[in-house]
Symmetry: C2
Subunit: 235 residues, 2 copies
DNA sequence: GTCTATATACGGATAGAC
DNA sequence: GTCTATCCGTATATAGAC
């Protein structure tokens, strides 16, 4: 799979996504006309991610936010009870979407080697498609409520475990060399996160998302190859 | 080298470090008694890093800060002109120290393979010794003045280049396999950064700094081994 | 549903006493 | 050198008109 194919496969219409958010937060949202809610939620989420990724969620004032969404401060507060509630909403919805897409693509695969490569690619492609959200959820940990902080940590450990489980299975079947699976998984995650955290660096080098995925797959596979014919040699 | 040895080798006394900071910022600092300056600068830097790493520099109020340093707000402002100046001071001093130690340890080494391993270890050990500063400089990019942001980016590219140069030299001498050196360097950096960015995860798994360094060295070396006898096998 | 106007609190920074 | 008291801008959030 490459990025273009991945994009097609997750082609959930934006409208569909925001309808789900509306239904999930029906109690918080005072506005009742569904069409209006969907249009405005879309503006609200996009604006919040845009401004936060430029200057941080905490540094985003409601006045900035009001300007970017083209909604008055009064109107905004009929979609969420407080700025902190908005933060929670963004995190919750993103996490849900990420888990759903990850599982849909990875779980069906049987062969551990194919599965490891797929998991790496899907994670990179997903973080490309939802880059603003991934970056946001990485950088805003400090501003989260204790409950949301826990959820974010749990999410991180959950995806670590996806990789660890694939490695364990592959080692048992003799396809991967014996390595500490948790440690490997954590290293893989570090490499994946670099794609959306250090975006400016990859853009500067004009690395495409597919080229980056190829690189990480090679890098990771080299460490898990079963036998080891070569060695680095000291002079 | 292990972490304990490294610690001894950089045993610059704290007092010596703060004396340098005082001399470098003599114009900004209104207080003239050197002993007082050193004592208070030490409090100021420690407190700023501590609070910022908990809740972010921008969320740290001068009142919080005053309490943590046990200095009044009035007193604080005789050590820096504004909160933003304080940010700049912290970044400048840390960068200077980091570059000095990195070069001192890495430049003398000749053999590329030994040098690559040393560069990895030194970087990890250094980020362990100065963990609060590394984390700060990573997370506070958004709050930096344009000039400091540029310096931070330059610092990142500078250390990338250290690794790239080692790889280029090693490839030319036939000790490393042919890989894109810039790409490799960037991947190595991602793995190194994980040590101080995801500290909670490594602490939870009780990974020691030496164990982490061993792991990264193995991981990176596997990718740069000259010949490749083994393969992962798909079932 | 959305707006404008405003209540209220808290931010950084400084003046002047000691 | 350090402190307390205070200035003044800006923050979030809401009330009430339309």
């Amino acid at each position: 799979m490459n990025y273009q194919e991945f994009q097609k496969s997750i082609n959930v219409s934006k409208e569909q996504l925001y309808r789900e958010i509306y239904l999930a937060n029906r109690d918080q949202i005072q506005v009742k006309k569904e069409e209006t809610v969907i249009r405005n939620l879309s503006r609200i989420f996009d604006a919040a991610l845009k401004i936060s990724n430029e200057k941080g969620f905490q540094a985003m004032s409601m006045r900035d936010f009001s300007k970017e969404t083209a909604l008055s401060m009064g109107a905004l507060y009929s979609y969420f009870a407080s700025k902190d509630e908005l933060l929670d909403m963004i995190l919750r919805q993103g996490r849900q979407l990420v888990v759903r897409i990850l599982n849909a693509h990875i779980q069906p695969i049987e062969d551990p080697v194919t599965k490891l490569e797929a998991a790496i690619r899907i994670h990179i492609y997903l973080s490309e498609a939802l880059q603003p959200w991934f970056y946001f959820s990485f950088m805003e940990v400090k501003n989260m409520s204790p409950a949301e902080k826990e959820n974010t940590v749990a999410g991180e450990l959950y995806t670590d475990q996806i990789f660890a489980d694939i490695l364990i299975e592959g080692q048992a079947a003799g396809h991967f060399a014996a390595r500490d699976p948790q440690q490997s998984a954590s290293g893989i995650k570090a490499l994946l996160q670099d794609w959306y955290v250090k975006r400016w660096k990859h853009a500067r080098r004009q690395t495409s998302v597919d080229a980056y995925a190829d690189f990480i797959v090679d890098f990771v596979m080299a460490y898990h190859r079963v036998s080891d014919g070569g060695k680095v040699q000291r002079s």
